[in-house]
């Protein structure tokens, strides 16, 4: 187990360098004139241009800029944006919003997704099952920016829950309930369907029949034997979704005006600001890798047959 974790962590270093390199390279290719993007329509004086070019090594070739950036990053220095703001400060302000939103969405996905899926799976063909199937199909079919604006208008404007248009600091977690539901809606629907199928399949499996016939209580058969096996695909899905929820918050954050990472990422791309984009993406990649590692370790807990060596 220990060796496995160490090997995975070593792999992560390679993945980390690979993704930062690719993202930095794409930002480099996509940027035409970051100084002009910074000032917008106004002309830039030659001295300002020269100063910024010098300070941010804008005239250096790509590989030199990447190496300078990475060596700073490894020393814990995220650098500054072209306008002089420290990227570390910006991230420290933005991450708490996104984490709060994504974690709340994840809780909704786990609580409602698993319960809904288990109930639907146990009573396949019933009213609850058919209703959830239809509803989840609807949710999967409609894109987030449609459900987002619609929910914002219906709940925020028509029904008067003013915290659900753009949550203010004093609204606390309550303001994040609707945004988190919208963010998690797609994962929630998928989680329900996945759990339902998985539970349904295992319900017909031999080992469940054996457990029943040897006289175990229904509660123990479902709660222990069935659950453990049914949750393996769901846990994989949830692990991947955690990363997606953080990155996918870009649309939800925009609709509900939440000043999180998605907003900074959007601005970074718009201003052709490579360092900010790479910083955000690297952190997303690290989260993604760590969550996946945790998921893989959880397998062993759920299914004792799985051993890591």
């Amino acid at each position: 187990m220990f060796r496995y974790v160490v090997r995975r962590l070593l792999q992560m270093i390679l993945v980390f360098f690979g993704t930062t390199f690719i993202v930095y390279w794409m930002m480099f290719l996509g940027s035409s004139d970051p100084i002009q993007a910074l000032v917008g329509e106004k002309p830039v004086s030659e001295s300002v241009r020269a100063q910024l070019t010098e300070q941010y090594h804008l005239d250096e070739p790509f590989i030199v800029r990447y190496l300078i950036y990475m060596s700073n990053l490894l020393r814990g220095d995220f650098g500054t944006q072209l306008n002089g703001r420290s990227i570390a400060d910006i991230l420290a302000q933005a991450w708490p919003y996104t984490i709060r939103l994504a974690v709340l969405a994840m809780i909704f996905v786990i609580v409602f997704g698993l319960t809904g899926g288990i109930i639907a799976g146990l009573r396949q063909g019933g009213v609850f099952d058919n209703t959830t199937l239809a509803l989840t199909l609807l949710v999967i079919g409609i894109p987030t920016f449609v459900t987002g604006y619609l929910a914002q208008y219906i709940f925020g404007v028509k029904l008067g829950v003013s915290a659900w248009i753009s949550p203010k600091p004093e609204d606390g977690l309550w303001g994040y309930v609707l945004p988190a539901l919208i963010l998690g809606a797609l994962s929630l629907a998928t989680a329900i369907r996945l759990t339902r199928t998985s539970v349904g399949e295992n319900l017909r499996a031999d080992y469940v029949r054996t457990a029943h016939s040897k006289g175990l209580a229904r509660r123990r058969v479902i709660g222990v034997h069935l659950m453990r096996n049914s949750l393996i695909p769901v846990i994989t899905f949830l692990g991947v979704e955690m990363g997606n929820l953080m990155g996918g918050a870009i649309v939800t954050e925009r609709i509900f005006n939440i000043p999180g990472v998605g907003f900074q990422l959007f601005n970074g791309i718009r201003l052709q600001d490579g360092p900010t984009v790479v910083a955000i993406v690297s952190i997303l990649v690290v989260i993604y890798l760590l969550v996946n590692l945790v998921v893989d370790i959880l397998y062993a807990v759920l299914d004792p047959r799985i051993r890591y060596s």
Partner: protein, 307 residues
């Protein structure tokens, strides 16, 4: 922003102003409807018809100094003939686009300076800015049309221009029989860069808001030879000397007369085609009793009043 109670002049009427930054104007509009926001300085064009019905008298309109036009490239031989420029201008039904697409939020423009500055005349464009498809088609054909019978109309895709640009292109297609291609450029910064380099072969959308309230600010930066925002690369020594003389005029009345003469030269050469002026269209909450917006499209903080 908090009021300075020790200020000796006229004190502001509200105690404090909070500036809220929105990533999306539609969210801001929903906050305005719900009463979370007191002033939205610009109602997004997609919400204009909704604003009329849901805000009623709380939707306000005041003039601003912003004007919009189409820049005709003087460096492109296709548009060299004045008849071609006139025909394009006459083939555009500005009022129809204002009514259908801008929900009446813009005003028809028939001059090269905004009506808010001293010395502005309402109609210096005359017949050229009046919609006349028959005459447009005649002139266009008589002048030989454009090479390949194609016109490109450039705009920046990060602003809300797609709809009206497509409408203008449709009108040019229907009234002149040319193939007009709406040509988006990804960002405003990109478009400005190409405009300054004079590499765009075709019409381009343009807009101007004054830096200081003078008729001169609508002429020098846009049309003087080599000026910073002279996207058309217009160069006319007579225009330059008329401007220079007006700059040196002894009285402001003489100066304005001089600038008006300069505008008349522009009206003859058509380096740009006037389109419309933009009004400040802002929404206020039920709690606000007084909100002013100035000609620079900014909210006036000192005169704000809240119940």
């Amino acid at each position: 922003m908090v009021r300075n109670d020790a200020y000796a002049g006229t004190k502001a009427k509200v105690q404090e102003i909070d500036f809220k930054i929105y990533q999306d104007q539609e969210t801001a509009f929903n906050d305005l409807l719900a009463g979370n926001l007191d002033v939205q300085p610009q109602i997004p064009s997609s919400k204009l018809s909704a604003a009329k019905s849901s805000l009623g008298a709380r939707m306000k309109q005041t003039p601003s100094s912003v004007i919009y036009f189409l820049t005709v490239p003087s460096y492109d031989p296709a548009f060299k003939k004045i008849e071609i420029r006139q025909a394009i201008s006459m083939a555009i039904d500005r009022q129809q686009i204002i009514d259908k697409i801008f929900q009446g939020a813009y005003t028809n423009l028939k001059a090269w300076v905004s009506s808010v500055v001293q010395g502005a005349r309402p109609d210096t464009c005359g017949d050229t800015c009046a919609f006349n498809p028959t005459k447009a088609k005649e002139m266009f054909t008589a002048a030989g049309g454009v090479p390949g019978n194609k016109i490109a109309l450039y705009y920046n895709a990060d602003g809300a221009h797609k709809e009206w640009v497509e409408a203008v292109c449709n009108q040019l297609h229907n009234n002149l029989g040319v193939t007009c291609t709406p040509s988006p450029i990804p960002t405003f910064a990109d478009m400005r860069k190409q405009a300054r380099a004079h590499t765009l072969k075709g019409l381009m959308r343009g807009g101007w808001s004054f830096d200081y309230p003078s008729i001169e600010d609508y002429l020098t930066p846009l049309y003087k030879t080599g000026a910073s925002s002279n996207d058309s690369q217009y160069a006319n020594p007579t225009f330059d000397s008329t401007l220079a003389n007006a700059d040196k005029a002894a009285t402001s009345a003489d100066a304005i007369k001089g600038y008006q003469d300069a505008e008349d030269i522009i009206a003859k050469d058509l380096p740009t085609l006037p389109m419309w002026t933009k009004n400040n269209i802002f929404g206020i909450s039920t709690a606000m009793t007084h909100v002013d917006m100035d000609l620079y499209a900014n909210v006036e903080p000192r005169t704000l009043e809240k119940k």
